[in-house]
């Protein structure tokens, strides 16, 4: 991954990202995912509608990725990137992170995209959740930095 493609810039690029974000946020509103209560109803088996949200969205993205990665024989117009799929390496962090995320999601009914959308509908109490997410993201970054430093100094000491 040494030649990471540069992310796009310029007005046309940002206008397209904004348009995508507007559709995405509009969908979060229509799907009622911007209401923590509806997500909690799903997790407590009182309204399973969320299955159709994630399913519908994943089907559209799957079709789009097939078009981009398998059918279009050219790079993306606004960035020159090659079309690819979203793949992440599998390791223990995927399970640990998923577990911690699950406890937080089950406790609050809130996930990142839905929280931003909820702010957009004027749900001011959601700022508690957004503030909490930033604190959590900072805490894990800080902890990982400290661990990495300790590991590095430990290796130097071990080399003696």
């Amino acid at each position: 991954m040494s030649d990471t493609p540069k992310d796009g810039q310029g007005a046309r690029f940002h206008a397209l990202i904004l348009a995508g974000g507007v559709l995405f946020g509009f969908g979060l509103g229509v799907s009622r995912m911007a209401r923590p209560e509806v997500v909690l109803d799903f997790l407590q088996f009182q309204d399973l509608g969320l299955l159709f949200v994630m399913g519908g969205a994943a089907v559209v993205s799957a079709v789009t990725f097939v078009i981009g990665a398998d059918l279009l024989d050219r790079p993306a117009p606004l960035t020159g990137r090659e079309y690819g799929r979203r793949v992440r390496e599998m390791d223990r962090n995927v399970l640990v992170g998923g577990t911690v995320f699950g406890v937080g999601w089950g406790l609050s009914g809130i996930c990142p995209g839905a929280a931003y959308a909820s702010f957009g509908v004027g749900n001011w109490p959601i700022l508690w959740a957004i503030g909490g997410m930033f604190l959590g993201a900072y805490a894990q970054g800080y902890a990982r930095s400290v661990l990495a430093e300790r590991r590095a100094t430990g290796e130097v000491a071990g080399a003696d």
């Binding site: 992310d7 796009g8 690029f13 940002h14 990202i17 348009a19 995508g20 974000g21 507007v22 559709l23 995405f24 946020g25 509009f26 509103g29 229509v30 009622r32 209560e37 997790l43 407590q44 509608g49 519908g56 969205a57 994943a58 559209v60 789009t64 990725f65 993306a76 990137r81 690819g84 979203r86 793949v87 992440r88 390496e89 998923g98 577990t99 911690v100 995320f101 699950g102 406890v103 937080g104 999601w105 089950g106 406790l107 609050s108 009914g109 809130i110 990142p112 995209g113 931003y116 959308a117 909820s118 004027g122 001011w124 508690w128 959740a129 909490g132 959590g136 900072y138 894990q140 970054g141």
Partner: protein, 159 residues
Amino acid sequence: MPRWLAAYFPDGVLSYAVGGLFIGLGVAVIYLGTGITAGASTFLETTLSYASRLPRFNRPTYLASRDWRLTFTLGIVLGAAVYALTIGPGGWTTEVQPWRLLAGGFLVGVGTRVGKGCTSGHGVCGVGSLSGTSITNVATFMAVAIGTAQVVLALGVTP
């Protein structure tokens, strides 16, 4: 839909499915124009680079993507506002207690960053990519979240 099944969908399925199609459409527009598979949670970590010097938040890939992630998030806020003011019921607030939002948000912030994605990154883009990593992550957080919400319900914590 048989009646036993309809009991699990008190508000029908149409608004959920249509909302999901719009979420997918947002992902599709960005992907076809730029080749980027957009998730919502990396916004948190990359935005911290504006305020923190910690190397973790200032990795080259984060510095390269933080501007468009800001635009993407602004779009999500705007799109939801458009919904609320047009076909939606106007603005609303949640009854879920602040401590649940804060504590849950904190764990969500940790979990998405350690687990490399969230409900949109893994749940929509990753599952749409048939990525085994994402499917594993989604199965994990679904099971744990259901268990957590059931325990919260059993303890009588409402709303």
